[in-house]
């Protein structure tokens, strides 16, 4: 009989009649790294919320055994006391508090209610060392990057003497290098006897690091695999319930002449006007072509797209934009949309969608003139139009009146794409179009992108995932520290070549 740290047995959890978890079993061995895989909506987060006590005992059926004892957690505090700590996808640091204040938030090092700041700082330094972070404990959380914030969260977990560390999509917002560091750290923790559960869509990472992998699908446990030579395909098969032989759709090439061109594009930082964010960039897309921009975080890719899109970013912008052999002016977003540009932002929830509105309202918000006469909305037409997109995009809702806040990441992204397709653009910038989206939905998004290109639209994909860039794009630009450092055709491109260009700023376009 193996030594299990955690056993969850026959967990059933339903939300007003819909079963989110249906007799799920999960067994975690002491000291292992356990991967938890499944599509969005498979029940991974729900299961972890049951474990942490966010859903209190009684709101679900089934039993949890931790260290062999039956646990009935009433709240998160109960589970944290036993050393179970979850680090959520959305980081929970308070931006205007310092690192040390964040780490000991709710666990202040105090005597009679008075905080001992020296002790706090000393302990913070020890914890930061443990997670390999060299920063000043007095710096504000807002001033450090996402990767470092992630590590601060982990340091916070260690301040609570963690035994079972649960990481929900820990590398979603990190670049390759930061991800590598984090994975290495998790292995280090294993050597120190800490058990980890890692939830991730990045299957290569799971395969690389996990000892065992449990796959969930539609609220059921499909299987638990020993990680000995498992292929990603095997996991994907378990997750989607069928073989997904091809992760990228076949391209029907239909590439025409150069249609959209940017010349000598320079952008300065919006607050610090001295700082150059985009440095004399030249860029072009042909009709029906999919162009990729690869680069590390901070390379200036998003800034490039947003500054083009009606000066939504930056100051002191200069350069020429030529579309269909005519120079066009893009002074604001309204003009950009009028000239057929569309920008799908990297952050759906804060920049792409209005979470208070339904599918219909989000679909039409950038094209209200198309569904109105003299400023008065034609609501019937609005329903018809948004319903067409719901069907075409296969957005999984019963009708267009469902609130977008309740949709999965993949479906939310489809709503954002619907919004921009309704504006009938010729040039689309897609910034991290599949971030946080599961494998099945990714394929659907890729298919939609491919269809748009086949219809003769110019497409630019900005992505941190090199396989995605290599799989989708006909031509790839690389950026590093605000400069274009390379341009590679798909047939000549490999991860190594791109990586070199992305880190070498001396290269020539």
């Amino acid at each position: 009989m193996a030594d299990y740290l955690l056993e969850m047995k026959n967990i059933i959890k339903d939300f007003s009649g819909v079963k989110a978890l249906d007799n799920v079993d999960l067994k975690i061995k002491r000291g292992e790294i356990h991967g938890l895989c499944g599509e969005n909506g498979a029940g991974k987060s729900t299961l972890m919320n049951v474990l942490s006590g966010l859903y209190p005992y009684g709101s679900y059926q089934g039993e949890n055994y931790y260290n062999g004892d039956l646990c009935r957690f009433k709240n998160i505090r109960d589970s944290e006391e036993l050393g179970i700590v979850i680090i959520h996808q959305e980081l929970a640091l308070i931006p205007f508090l310092s690192v040390k204040e964040n780490i000991f938030l709710g666990n202040e090092q105090a005597k009679h209610g008075v905080i001992d700041w020296d002790l706090t700082e000393k302990k913070t330094n020890q914890l930061l060392k443990k997670v390999g972070l060299k920063i000043d404990p007095n710096i504000l959380a807002a001033q450090i990057g996402v990767g470092q914030q992630q590590l601060v969260e982990i340091a916070k977990a260690f301040s609570k003497s963690v035994q079972l560390l649960i990481l929900d999509e820990p590398t979603a917002a990190l670049n390759e290098e930061e991800s590598e560091n984090l994975l290495f750290l998790i292995k280090e923790f294993k050597n120190q006897g800490i058990t980890s559960i890692i939830i991730s869509h990045k299957l290569n990472e799971v395969v690389q690091i996990a000892d065992r992998i449990t796959i969930l699908r539609d609220g059921k446990t499909i299987e638990t695999l020993e990680n000995q030579g498992i292929s990603e395909e095997k996991i994907i098969k378990g997750m989607v319930g069928r073989d997904l032989t091809n992760r990228y759709p076949d391209r029907k090439l239909n590439i025409g002449k150069v249609y959209f061109e940017v010349k000598d594009w320079t952008v300065h930082h919006p607050i610090n006007a001295e700082k150059i964010v985009n440095d004399h960039i030249d860029f072009s897309i042909k009709k029906g072509e999919i162009v990729g921009i690869a680069g590390l975080m901070g390379a200036g890719r998003t800034e490039f797209a947003m500054s083009l899109f009606g000066k939504s970013y930056g100051s002191g912008i200069s350069g020429k934009v030529i579309k269909n052999n005519e120079e066009i002016s893009l002074k604001n977003v309204h003009e950009a949309i009028k000239h057929g540009l569309a920008y799908v932002s990297e952050d759906r929830k804060t920049m792409g969608l209005n979470l208070l509105m339904d599918v219909r309202e989000n679909t039409t918000i950038a094209s209200l003139a198309k569904i109105s006469h003299m400023g008065v909305l034609d609501k019937e037409k609005e329903i018809v139009v948004s319903e067409q997109f719901r069907k075409k995009m296969r957005i999984k809702t019963n009708n267009v009146f469902q609130n977008v806040g309740s949709l999965s990441g993949g479906n939310q992204q489809k709503v954002v794409l619907s919004k921009w397709l309704l504006t009938q653009p010729d040039v689309l910038f897609l910034d991290e179009p599949t971030r946080g989206i599961d494998v099945g939905a990714k394929y659907e998004i890729y298919t939609i992108i491919e269809e748009m290109a086949a219809a003769g639209k110019c497409i630019c994909i900005i992505s941190s995932e090199l396989p995605e860039i290599l799989g989708m794009c006909d031509r790839i630009y690389t950026m590093c520290e605000g400069k274009m450092t390379g341009e590679v055709l798909r047939e000549n491109a490999t991860q190594e070549i791109l990586m070199n260009l992305m880190t070498n700023k001396e290269g020539v376009v």
Partner: protein, 407 residues
Amino acid sequence: MQNSESVQKQEIGEKNLKKNGSVKAKFTGVFSKYSMVIILLFLLVAFQFLTEGIFLRPLNITNLVLQNSHILVLAAGMLLVVLLGHVDLSVGSVMAFVGGISAILMVQMKISPFLAVPLCLLMGAFIGAWNGFWVAYVGIPAFIVTLAGLLMFRGLTQVVLGGTSIAPFPKIFQSLSSGYIPDFMGSGSLHMTSMLIGILLTAFLIWSQWQSRNRKKKNLFEVDSMNFFVFKSILIAVTIVGMTYVFASYEGYPIILVVLGVIVAAYAFLTNKTIVGRQIYATGGNRKAAELSGIKTKKITFWVFVNMGAMAALAGMILAARLNAATPQAGNSLELDAMAAVYFGGASTSGGIGTIMGAIVGGLVMGVLNNGMSIIGVGVDWQQAIKGLILLLAVVLDLYNKKKKMA
């Protein structure tokens, strides 16, 4: 009120189009969405009982409308500000200031009300533009800009009025707040013109509902069953004709009620049916996403404050006309009443959620509480305390209902 009723009915209709659940689900859905309306109805019945039948007498209902009209006008303007996630604390002071200016124009300079009223509305719009400029284009939080406005315009009111009241206003201006529409076919005790208007309005509402139902059917959308449609139509008819009868058995429709009706209809149309309305909701719900969708959020914010200024000016004149005097203390702390009405009507303090129906019902609940408690003889001190408590409880109940529905 008639128009707001129709909006409510329309919303019920839309709701049923969306949800095709059981009768019970329908019932709980309607209850949680319209809990404020139900609270209002409960208060009406309770006060009718407690005041031994005085409360719902035609004279008192007419008074209720007259006494609260300026708050309802403010609430309508405030709704748009709150939808954007802002507040406007200056409206009480703006009311007093514009009221003072109107008195100077009409009483001291003897300018005709037909010229003075538009001038004062324009003045209010300029004050709104002042607030809106700082909020929208300079990016100073509305709380601070309008707090400054609150102090500034209260002070300026004292300056222009010289610390005293100015009275009396011309008769025709007073009738804005205390007049009734003339009875062209007058004979007997019942105000026939009002009755006729009420019946025509009912017919128009039912007809437009019928049109909308047919249009939906043609587009192959689900529509309510015929029985439900008939039930709804009867409800509309009973409510409107009933209320009209109450007014008609006193002096007929007050002029201010007609003004309110037009304002409510205009705001319902603006928020539900126009591009601008949709853009206001989008901006309040997620400003960044709205901007990236090509919405000119600064321009929208600016004009919403201009509109608020004009509505505050109108409210100020309504109050001055009813009191028949412009006083330095007029409208004191009414900005809070207006905001309470809007929040009470289900609006979110962070923007993006709220309806004109809600704001009006919220304002009416407060008015009913004031009026009802005064009739029973509750002292002003206790009135305030009770009002505060009931407001909190009502919002808690509303929140509870919404949570239950979500779970």
